[in-house]
């Protein structure tokens, strides 16, 4: 059940009376180029892949498969999709089998990112399943000679009032589901839900707690060999010399692969490959250049780089003006995704066709990039998503897939498994970009914010594949591919400016995005993108302004918040936390509050927290956090709770501890000694997540909604506990202590 599923085309076609689901080129084209502007927009990813059989397949024997182009990354959406399909099709949960991203089997849903899985793919499956059910009823109506309204569905069959029963397997005919989805579906009444909205145990967990094959790291194809890459010591380093003869003679070594600055070794066994990698690294001589910026002056480094400036929001009401003004600058360092399992991929090159098993977040774009790198046609490259360790954004997954492909091409016929070493993951993954925000606002006589100025300096937040030049291996090859020019991600979702526009209502407001094209460090998408720092800045500043206005932080937020669902989560979190105006915490402790709606489009999240600060050491510990979340219709409440708990814990670790370190040449945070993260001694006493369910409302992505509010809530609690405002992330023990002692 949990092993990577490899449905090959032949097996699918053997399915007898089943539908053809394999993506013929013609079909894929038809899906990608839907007639311009004609049809009304279909819900979720049905807009890009409108055929129902792209999403659901029913075999003659009644087996049902749901297809998603999204990748399970540990968020548990595979279970949620199974719930959705089962609910809308009126079959038991167990009757559905979910197949995830595979360039040969599933729709092109781009990247699994931005908390879009539920919105895009979940919505597509929801509607596709509802429409398939309607089609099955219509089919049964025809066969039984009854009106559709008189039929009902239950347990995988259509049932007539007289008790006659036709199973889905019997009803499905060759092309029944090969129709385009309608813009509207007849969805079931949420009040009747038996599977959606319930805490169904996740399907992937049993294998993970018993040592089953659960990850790409666990794949063992027959004849598989192991490879390791030797990465340059720093960005842009050139391989001057490398005598690999001795390495080639080491036990088990099959081949040393060298292509320009790309260096790797293949061996029979994994530890042989590692030993050979160490020997190869020792033999390699590199020429390095000193071109990294000053780690402790990122504020000036970033604001000093050329930027493209745009006003992304402006509102003015000359009748309102402020009396008291506050200004503040907030910074965020480069931060690592830091998966516990270093990135891994398996590649197999046979008969001029490349297959790569990968935990990429985008099988199609990564296929595009790998094909370009190998100078192969995309059609002869297949990428199959297999779950990996949690990724939290664009980490080394795509790069190691490219490494594996490049190495496998040098050893045709043998599947090659490549896993990065810890040091490689830490030094080479694309980091979450450093950012600077400058805020200025004033308060009017009535204690409201009269004008608001927000400026953010940031790189792009996506250097994801699509182009070969995004892949390390392609950058290091002798015929190197250039890194493509970075682009700001478009609003309303945005990148560096994600959540830069406040959800609050201010009479005068202006938000400026300074997009910085130059990327001194390798960067890309990290959970929340710009929202993490922008929400941290806005919500810290809201507290500072509440102080200026002499107002309670929660009440001050509500004063400026019109969105009723936003108000609901704020009030819910405050109430469940026991938030009271002027409540005094025990000595050494503080309370903090923060709120955001992720991207101003996705889930709402408010978090209240209690933090203890040790005034001797400066160490801060989150004691408890209370979150309220509205992510629309809830599919799996326990899954959602798990995501929010995780978001709070991870954001706490980012916020209190984490920064990438580097000198003028090299990245120096290359393991858990040099890039410390949360350990158990700092784990809170409790975290409570309260869900505001919205039956019948659209799904709102929630995987990233907690990052910003958790950060600001903790920062506000620290300020409350110490009376000192810290504006530079991370809020380390040393910084807190220095602030206390200042």
């Amino acid at each position: 059940m949990n092993a990577p599923v490899i449905l090959d085309r032949r097996r699918v076609l053997q399915g007898g009376g089943a539908l053809i689901v394999s993506f013929s080129l013609g079909r894929a084209l038809a899906q990608e180029g839907s007639p311009a502007g004609a049809a009304p927009k279909r819900p979720g990813s049905l807009a890009v892949a409108p055929y129902l059989d792209s999403w659901l397949r029913i075999d003659a024997d009644g087996r049902i498969t749901a297809f998603t182009g999204k990748a399970e990354l540990g968020q548990g959406f595979k279970t949620a999709f199974q719930q959705i399909a089962a609910e809308q099709l009126d079959v038991p949960f167990e009757a559905i089998h979910v197949v995830t991203a595979d360039t040969q089997l599933t729709a092109n849903e781009g990247y699994t990112a931005g908390s879009h899985s539920m919105q895009d793919s979940g919505t597509a499956i929801l509607n596709a399943a509802a429409q398939v059910r309607e089609l099955l009823i219509a089919q049964a109506a025809g066969r039984l000679g009854l009106a559709a309204e008189n039929l009902r569905t239950e347990n995988g069959a259509v049932i007539a009032p007289d008790g006659r029963r036709l199973t889905y397997g019997e009803l499905v005919a060759a092309d029944l589901l090969h129709v385009q989805a309608q813009p509207q579906s007849k969805l079931k009444d949420p009040a009747s839900f038996k599977i959606m909205g319930h805490a169904v145990p996740r399907v992937d967990i049993p294998a993970k707690v018993t040592g089953g094959e659960a990850y790409v790291q666990d794949m063992r194809l027959s004849g598989m060999v192991h490879a390791r890459v030797v990465r340059p010591p720093s960005y842009g380093a050139q391989l001057v010399e490398c005598d690999s003869a001795a390495v080639e003679r080491l036990p088990g070594v099959l081949k040393v692969v060298r292509d320009g600055n790309f260096l790797a070794v293949i061996a029979n066994k994994e530890f042989q490959a590692i030993k050979a990698m160490n020997a190869l690294a020792a033999a390699a001589k590199w020429k390095e250049s000193q071109n990294l910026p000053k780690q402790d002056d990122l504020l000036n480094v970033l604001t000093g780089l050329p930027s493209q400036d745009s006003i992304i929001f402006e509102r003015s009401d000359p009748s309102v003006s402020g009396q008291k003004t506050l200004e503040a600058t907030y910074t965020r360092p480069y931060q690592s995704h830091g998966s516990i399992g270093p990135s891994c991929a398996v590649a197999h090159f046979v008969d001029d066709a490349m297959t790569v098993w990968t935990h990429t977040q985008g099988v199609y774009p990564d296929r595009q990039a790998i094909a370009e790198m190998l100078r192969m046609s995309p059609a002869s490259v297949r990428l199959i998503h297999v779950e990996g360790s949690g990724c939290y954004g664009h980490n080394g997954a795509d790069d190691v897939a490219a490494d594996a492909a490049l190495i496998a091409r040098a050893l045709p016929g043998r599947p090659v498994r490549v896993q990065w070493m810890r040091e490689q993951e830490h030094a080479w993954e694309p980091f979450g970009p450093a950012m600077v925000t400058k805020l200025k606002a004033s308060i009017d006589g009535g204690g409201r914010i009269a004008d608001w100025n927000f400026a953010v300096w940031s790189n792009t937040h996506s250097m994801r594949p699509g182009n070969a030049g995004t892949l390390l291996a392609a950058q290091h090859m002798a015929q190197a591919f250039a890194v493509p020019p970075p682009k700001p991600l478009p609003l309303p979702e945005g990148g560096g400016d994600r959540n830069a526009i406040p959800l609050y209502t201010f009479a005068n407001a202006r938000v400026v995005h300074h997009f910085i094209a130059a990327m001194p460090l390798r960067i890309s998408a990290m959970r929340g993108l710009g929202a993490y720092h922008n929400v941290f800045s806005i919500e810290s500043f809201m507290d500072e302004l509440a102080g200026l206005a002499g107002a309670d932080p929660v009440e001050f937020r509500l004063r400026h918040l019109e969105d009723p669902r936003g108000r609901d989560v704020v009030e819910k979190a405050a109430q469940e936390f026991g938030w009271k105006q002027d409540r005094k915490p025990p000595p050494g402790r503080g309370y903090g509050f923060a709120f955001a709606r992720y991207k101003n489009l996705a889930a709402y999240c408010a978090i209240a927290s209690e933090v203890e600060v040790n005034s001797e050491t400066g160490r801060a510990r989150l004691l408890r956090a209370v979150a309220a979340v509205d992510s629309g219709q809830v599919v799996n409440p326990d899954g959602l709770t798990n995501q929010i708990e995780g978001a709070i814990m991870q954001s706490m670790s980012w916020t209190l501890y984490e920064s990438v370190s580097f000198d003028d040449t090299r990245i120096t945070s290359i393991d858990w000694q040099t890039y410390p993260i949360l350990r158990f001694d700092a784990v809170p006493d409790r975290i409570d997540v309260h869900i505001i369910n919205r039956p019948g409302q659209p799904f709102l992505g929630s995987g990233e909604t907690g990052q910003g509010p958790a950060a600001a809530s903790i920062a506000n609690a620290i300020a409350h506990a110490t009376g000192k405002r810290l504006r530079d992330l991370p809020l380390t023990r040393k910084r807190i202590k220095d602030a206390i002692d200042a």
Binding site: K208, V209, A214, I340, G341, I677
Partner: protein, 164 residues
């Protein structure tokens, strides 16, 4: 060639004596649970039990294991017949990506073997070497507490069955 007892079975291992146990388990014995996380003894994702103690298999070379008994997560139970610790983690849904979880479970199991009723503080202190990046900590703690309760009742019922 060396004999290594893993999950109760003797295996003939053909690997250099400096090979860390982790690679022997994954590569030679095709076991999945112990994970490579850092290879440096910094993260705990490779934790297994050796002679009743939680050990980082990535920094435990084969040469240290002569005559010792290795237990991995696979040796505790299966999906259909899970050990108490496995049941507890399933019941608490204590995983996100789950990559760290096998190591967490083995360290917790070793703790419960020597201290069947650990306090919350003892569990936290014990798990200090193990990292989780997904932030599943609250659930992991709950699952370990639950496992302790399950083992307690399992022991009690086993004792009842055997008439003790």
């Amino acid at each position: 060639m060396m004999t290594l007892k893993v999950n109760g079975q003797d295996n003939q291992i053909d690997a250099d004596p400096d090979t860390p146990l982790l690679y022997v388990l994954r590569d030679d014995l095709k076991l999945n649970a112990a994970k490579f996380g850092c290879g440096l003894g910094q993260c705990g994702s490779c934790t297994v039990i050796v002679d009743g103690k939680a050990v980082l298999s990535c920094v435990t070379p084969l040469v240290l294991l002569k005559g010792k008994q290795v237990t991995t997560l696979e040796g505790l139970g299966t999906v259909s017949a899970p050990a108490p610790i496995q049941r507890a983690f399933m019941e608490e849904q204590a995983a996100q990506c789950g990559y760290c979880i096998a190591g967490m479970m083995m360290r917790a199991q070793a703790l419960l073997l020597r201290n069947p009723k650990p306090t919350d503080a003892e569990i936290r202190a014990e798990l200090q070497p193990n990292l989780c990046r997904c932030g599943t900590h609250m659930r992991i703690l709950r699952a370990v507490h639950r496992a302790a309760r399950l083992m307690d009742t399992a022991d009690a019922s086993a004792n009842a069955r055997s008439g003790q």
